[in-house]
Structures are given as C-alpha cells and as structure tokens.
C-alpha cells in the first residue's frame, strides 16, 4: 500500500477542520479552490497516461471534494482506522478523480499521480484497495460498489457504531439491477447511516441515459424503494454539504446530484464523446487554462 504524505495530511486535517467549523457558506470558496486543483490534476493525469474517463472525472469532482473535505471523518495517515467513515466510488472508471482527491488529502504523495496506469504502478485504471490507501473496495465493473457499501452500513449498525458510509454511483450505472437489490436491502434494514450520491450527468458511455434506457422519474423510484431523496446541483458546494447531512428520518438517503459531464472545460461539457476521449496537447493547454481561472 502506498505511504501517506505527512505534510499534506496535516494540511488536510487543518483545512477540513476549518471547513467543518465555519458556516457552510463561508467554506465554499475553499472547496471551490480545491475542486479546481483536483480538476487540473485530473487533466494532467489523463494527458500523461493518454487514457482515462475524463468526462465522468470532471463531473464527480465537486462531490468527491465536498465528501472528503466537508463530510467524511478520515485520517490519511491511518487509512484503515476502524472508526473511519467509509467512502466507495462505485463508478470506478473515474479513478483519476478519486486518486487526485486522495493525493490532495495526503493519503499518498501527489508525485504518484504521474504514474497513473503506467506499468507496475499502484494507480491502476480502476481503484484497488490493496494498493491504494483510502480505497475501501475494488470497483470498475459497474453495479458493485453500492451492495458493498450497504454491507458496510449494515456492519456499522450491527456494531452500534456511529461511522457512516457514502457511495457514489453513475446514473448510467443505475441500469445494473444489483443497485436496486441493494436499494431494497438498505431500506429494509433501515440503514440511515448510508448515503448514496448519484452523479446525475445524464450521459453514459455511448449516449444520453434517457435515450439509452429511461431512468426518470428517478426520485420517485428511490422514494418508492423506501429512501429519503434529496435533489441538488452537484456543482454547488453549499447545496452538496447540506444534502450530505445525516438522515434524520431513519431512512437511507439518496442524493440526486445534477451535474455536467466534463464540467469546467467548455468544449467537453455535456458532450458524450468525452466519456473517454483523450485531449490533444492543445486541448490540454486550453483545458488547464480554463480550470485555472
């Protein structure tokens, strides 16, 4: 497993504590700054590897940053600490976004990001829990993370523990039936410590989700499965922080985060081909310039 970066993890502790202690609206500029840094790092990683899933990485970034800096109780220097909150990225193809966020928090050295997908690197194209601290379960085949996260939350409940579990799903990923099996399990067991965040960017690999296989009315589907539903703008940090608050109804919470695939790079936004297209070197320069603004 990769070693932590003590300097960065100390900074993470300080910044995330400040964010949690301030009024949420005052925390927003800091979260936006971090998101911009994470997005730039994603573009650099994909440029270096000449592979990756850039559209979904850029759409999920704000969700990851809000979770890691504003919500989850984690210690990058003790990634397997028993009382930690559990975070699962079910849409594992967006590993670049997760790795960038984890490195930003100090789970490992940012220099590792340069090895993304290179031979013998720990940073595989999809997250690997054995090699990368901060990864709770291996994902990459869609429709796996949510049942595992449900098991985490069930385990916490059996132990009477207070830690919580957050799992991020792609909207296209919801077409896998395993998700709806987990949705029934979680509500049956009243797993109120479980939060599902759906990265609702309305695109999947080959087309729009609604053209491929209709998901709407999505909120009603979750409600009918016994979930509390919160719908937000998935790029609005203030709204995300509120939506990620713990359940008070005793039911698990599904956050439908409306996002834009390719967010932050104008020529990638809401365009299906950027699911896994690799930008040219000119496009990388343009993307980095936009993200630095």
């Amino acid at each position: 497993m990769l070693p932590a970066d003590p300097t960065r993890s100390a900074a993470y502790r300080e910044i995330s504590q400040r964010i949690r202690e301030s009024r949420p609206e005052d925390a927003v500029p800091e979260l936006e700054r971090i998101s911009a840094e994470v997005r730039q790092s994603i573009v650099r990683m994909i440029d270096r590897a000449q592979l990756g899933h850039i559209g979904g990485d850029l759409s999920v970034t704000d969700i990851l940053v809000a979770c890691f800096y504003g919500v989850l109780a984690l210690d990058p220097e003790r990634p397997r600490w028993e009382g930690r909150d559990r975070f699962v990225l079910s849409k594992g193809h967006c590993a670049a976004a997760l790795y960038s966020t984890l490195a930003h928090c100090g789970f490992f050295h940012t220099g590792e990001l340069d090895t993304f997908m290179a031979p013998l690197s720990a940073l595989n194209g999809h997250p690997n829990k054995i090699k990368v601290p901060g990864v709770e379960t291996n994902t990459g085949a869609l429709g796996h993370g949510f049942p595992v996260a449900t098991g985490c939350a069930l385990g916490a409940k059996l132990d009477g523990a207070t830690w919580r579990t957050v799992v991020v799903l792609g909207d296209g990923e919801l077409q896998e039936g395993s998700n709806w099996e987990a949705a029934m399990t979680a509500s049956h067991y009243g797993l109120s410590s479980l939060t599902v965040v759906i990265d609702r960017n309305r695109l999947q690999q080959g087309a729009r989700t609604e053209e491929t296989k209709t998901l709407e009315p999505l909120g009603d589907k979750w409600r009918s499965f016994g979930w509390e539903v919160r719908e937000v703008d998935g790029h609005d940090h203030l709204a995300l922080l509120k939506a990620l608050e713990r359940s008070t109804t005793g039911r698990p919470v599904a956050v439908i985060a409306n996002t834009i695939k390719g967010k932050g790079v104008s020529f990638m936004e809401d365009r299906v081909e950027w699911h896994h297209k690799v930008p040219s070197s000119e496009q990388v320069v343009a993307a980095l310039a936009e993200l630095a603004r």
């Binding site: 031979p119 077409q175 491929t212």
Partner: protein
C-alpha cells in the same frame, strides 16, 4: 482475403462488425444486442443500416443475455456484443440456464478479451472467460486467431442453430490462417508440420507460436503448430496424434492457466496418451498494472516465452 489483410496486423473487431452487417443483409432474423457498447463493439455502422435491429439494454448484462434468449425464442438470431469480462462474469448464470441449458440459438460475442484492457485492471481483464464457458454443457466455444477466422466464426455461429461463445480478439495480429483452412467444430488447423514438439495455440497467441516455431526451426528444432479455433468441442484426435508423434506439447493462450486450452488439452493427454506438457497462460494471480503488450510479455506470453517453453520441454535448459 485481400493482399492488405495478409500483411497488415488487425484488430479483428472490424472484421467481426463487417461480417455481421453482411450477414444481417442476407438474413433479417439477425439482431445485435448490446450493453451501452455500440462504439466499443464497432456497431455504429450496423445501427445506421439496421436501427430497428440493434437492441441496447443499457448497462445491464444479466438483462442483456436474458433478453437475447427471449429474442431467440421469438425466432431471431441475436448476436450479443459486450465486453467479454462483463458478458461472461456478470451473466454467467443467464448463459448457463437461459442460453445453453435452454438450447437457445444465441451467439455470445465477448469483445476485447484477454488482456485487451490491460491498464484498466483485473476487473476488465477477461482471462477467466474461457474456463467459465468451457464448463457449460452444450455451448460451443470459438476463439478466432485472426480476422479470417473471425469472419468464418460469425458465419458459422449464425448458421449453427446452436448456442455459442465467440471470443472477438482486439489484440492486433497478422492473418495467420489460410482462407481454405477448415472451420468446423472439432477440427484443428495444422499451420505448420513438425516432429520434435507440438505447440497448440489459440487466439492472439497463434501468430506468436508461428514466430517461435520459425526461430526454433533456424536452430534445428522442428515444431508442429496447431491452432484450435474451437475450444469446445475440441479436436481431441489432433491432440492425441500430437502426443503420439512429437515429444511433448506446449499450449499457449491469452487466458488463465486454470481452465482454458491448457487444461482441456491436458485432460485429453493425461487420460488418453500421457506426454510431457508445458501450459502457457496467465497464472492464478491478479495482474499488475500495465498495457496489453507489457502484460503479455510479463507473463511470458511472447514468442520468446514459447521458445523457452519448447526448449525446457526438450531438456535444452
């Protein structure tokens, strides 16, 4: 076969997609069924010509195979096109119960098998698929070595009336099989005769086996190269003949050594004509990160690796 097809190296998905379209023009029962994989299965042209005959069930592999079995029941001939790891792993029980056990004429097309998705990691490596599908009764398992065999496989599977698993190679290879090579269940293709050792190779490893044989020949070692486009039913007679006529057998496949070609050949050899063997494939480990070529070399699945296995078998050190 065109002149360019003889020389160049190919990603056989294109040959697969073209053959499927020409078949669909001849037979309106042909439909393609996919899982958000129109692009990765090269089905864009198919969709353009036959928009109503492309069914996209989204990211839902169990549904994918079940729906295909239903389409077969309704008189269609579905070609299920999906990434091999998810098609086989995710829907294995549908493949067993809905397709094979029910004798549904469904052609399961595992795209980008083996280490094709090298950097994407073990979730995306399809090295277990051959072990899994080979264990299922009544399912023909076809592993084409090049675009020529891929085209023949598409035609054969459509006409067979039987359930089959067709592994569509992505790793770029030259054409290795002659146009008049036999293509039928239980028939091996003799690519080169020889009497010291037999190398039996399938899929992407076939061209590497030929390269190894050429190198060994230069050193005075005579290698017989057999290709098995059908892993099931396999050509057991060719295996027994090789065991009898040469001093040992090396198998080579882009798959795990627990259960594919090597295991199939070994069980024939062990029970019918004992003979020394070396089995080349991916050992029972999850691969490290790396691209396809890196991983194949890493696991000794190269011409060098095959040469070394032959020498080892002959006791040359």
């Amino acid at each position: 076969m065109t002149v360019t097809e003889q020389r160049a190296t190919f990603d056989s998905r294109q040959a697969f997609a073209e053959e499927l379209i020409s078949l669909a023009r001849e037979d309106e029962r042909i439909v393609a069924v996919c899982n958000d994989s129109v692009g990765s299965s090269n089905l864009v042209a198919f969709r353009k010509e036959f928009p109503d005959r492309l069914v996209n069930v989204g990211i839902a592999e169990q549904d994918l195979v079940g729906v295909a079995a239903g389409l077969a029941n309704a008189g269609r001939i579905p070609f299920v096109c999906a990434a091999a790891p998810f098609l086989t792993g995710r829907a294995l029980e549908q493949i067993k119960a809905d397709v094979a056990y029910s004798e549904a004429h469904v052609v399961l097309c595992g795209q980008s098998p083996g280490m094709a998705y090298g950097e994407l990691g073990p979730t995306h490596h399809s090295i277990e698929d051959l072990s899994w599908v080979r264990a299922i009764a009544g399912l023909d398992v076809i592993v084409p070595a090049d675009p020529v065999q891929t085209r023949a496989a598409v035609r054969w599977a459509a006409a067979s009336g039987r359930p089959s698993y067709l592994r569509v190679p992505r790793f770029k290879v030259p054409v290795v099989t002659p146009g008049d090579a036999p293509f039928e269940p239980g028939r091996a293709v003799l690519l080169q005769d020889g009497d010291d050792v037999t190398v039996i190779a399938i899929g992407s490893l076939t061209s590497r086996a030929l390269e190894a044989a050429a190198r060994l020949r230069a050193d005075g070692v005579s290698v017989r190269v057999l290709n098995m486009p059908f892993l099931a039913p396999m050509d057991e007679d060719a295996v027994i003949t090789a065991a009898r006529e040469t001093r040992g057998i090396v198998t080579a496949e882009e798959a795990t050594t627990s259960g594919g070609l090597g295991a199939a050949v070994a069980s024939v050899v062990a029970t019918r004509h004992p003979s020394p063997m070396r089995i080349l494939g991916v050992p029972r480990v999850f691969a490290p990160t790396g691209d396809t070529a890196f991983l194949l070399d890493h696991f000794g699945l190269s011409a060098d690796g095959i040469v070394a296995a032959v020498r080892d078998l002959l006791g040359h050190g």
